[in-house]
Amino acid sequence: MMLLVQSIIAITIRAGTSLVYATIGEIYTERTGVLNLGLEGMMLMGAVTAFAVAYHTGSLVLSLLVAMSMGLVLSAIHAFLCITMRANQVVSGLSITLFGTGMASFLGQRLGPAENSFYLVGLTSVRFNRIAVPFLSDIPILGALFNQDIMTYGMYILIPLAWFYMFKTKHGLNLRSVGESPHTADAMGISVTKTRYLFTIVGGMFVSLGGAHLSLSYTPGWTENITGGRGWIVIALVIFSMWNPARAIYGALLFGGINAIQFRLQIAGAAIPAPVLNMFPYLATIAVLVLVTWLESKGKKRLGAPAALAVSYMREDK
């Protein structure tokens, strides 16, 4: 039993890592008032380029840098369209997803070696291996947390840092005020445009890192649609964590955990059909959204969605 719990925790954390990176990225983007629905495309581009670079150079560091630069470019396009050109954020985000999905699939059939007719599918490369932390990994049950890869350990550090920066520093306050009330922020001398650009791009880089974790560790290698809709799940996770980086882990555990448990249940031949189990996180997300909205209307205190989310800003029209 203890071994079972331990293995479920291990799988949950591993499945959740890519989700946490992407969720924290999107939380930062949305907190400044920019909704980016291009996550699926950015994660796929991160995954395909990270794997291609790892395959050809053998350098994991370089892989991560290239993956992040993909997130940088795609989210910069989104930022330019939504912030400077005031385009519709939903349509722009969907376009990023279309383009990123198409481009990743294209690259997956072009960046491989000639002997594999330029395909990346079916190849193996260097990858992140699990590193057991001495002593800590021997703790019963919780030891599972300390037998993970470097990116997961990075996630343990990222979560508190991202929370601290957002809620305990002046910069964090500024970025939240841009998402809550851009006019007020502007009047206080904060550049709405710069803040939104910066965190849309930084957020995008983390999203692509999440994609890179998939192709370099969780399911090593490149397959078409390796993300399996994770980019969309992240949109749900941002709501589920009520736009707070510290809570990003809960949602990731929920989705990752259901993956892990489902796998076990299938082996055990249990009666709960998988789709019903899979539906639960989405329904829970809607419930959280309804609850947050209801509480806000009662108490006037803002808990969740930034007030200016998906609203473009131009100083001239008030």
Binding site: V91, G102, P275, I286
Partner: protein, 358 residues
Amino acid sequence: MRLYFEKRKTSSKIVLICVPIISLVISLILTGFLLLVFGVNPLATFSAMFNGAFGSSQNFAETLVKAVPLMLTGLGVSIAFRLRFWNIGAEGQLVLGGVAATWVALFASPYIPAFLLLPSVLLAGALAGAAWAGVPALLKTRLQVDETLTTLMLNYVAILIAEGLFYGAWRDPGGMGFPGTARFPQAAWLPRIYGRVHYGLVFALILAVVLWFFIYHTKWGFELHMIGKNRTAANYLGVNIKRTILVSILISGAFSGLAGASEVAGLARRLQEGLIQGYGYTAIIVAWMAQLNPFASIAAAILMAALLVGGDQVQMMMRLPSAVGLVMQGMILFPLLAGSLFSEYRLRISRTRGEETP
């Protein structure tokens, strides 16, 4: 000297026409450049894509097959967008429409006279789509819950319901391991016009005309316009905003539900994976490209479908990834999105220094 945007009094017609053309040209140049980088002849690729989508009556029929669900969902989404109700749940509404239609065709058919079966199948699809859109509409009008997020979440629930059924309870035991339901009885089949093009095309064209009439020539259309432009003014004019939103979103969902029903009844004649193609997401782009105009939505749906079919053809003929079609869709959309600003604003150069805000 500095550049700034000034709001136009009326949106510019010239810009509305020029921007799409320029966008298409930019997209061809950028995609062409990308193909060159990978050592592929761009002109040969584009002509293969064009031929694949429009080159013969059979190819054009395939383009229409893919365009029909995009037309119906695109029209539906455009109703919601007129109200600034960001319904991005067309995908779920379409899938659930397909599920409801399948239920009627397979399980309620013994109790329905044959000549009524097909209408019942289609009606069930439309109703299910409406109901699926009704949930976020109610949450929005009653509790102010953000509709972008709820409609998106419900897409996954609908897809999981459909998958649960055709992989599980409704799976055809005689399907030789192929996931999908049994074939519909013949009375539930939606007839075909040419090739695989089914009567869904006729529904889409008729509904476009009907929608155009309602939007531009009735009180309901005017109310939609008012609510979308200025909610406070609409309220003063005595428009029942909540009821109008609810009714319009139900209609919006019904369009997508009908798309799902005509897909299952006209193409596969069974519920299976092929229904879930992401049409509902592309529909948003179709509606937006068409500036919510019903006739333009039909044209935009054909363009998006042509890129998909053209991409498939390139894969077969030139052994290039079919994803070229998706890449081109994105490449057209980026300049189109950037250009959308110019219909509402004009770029001005100010020569004064110092206090520059006009």
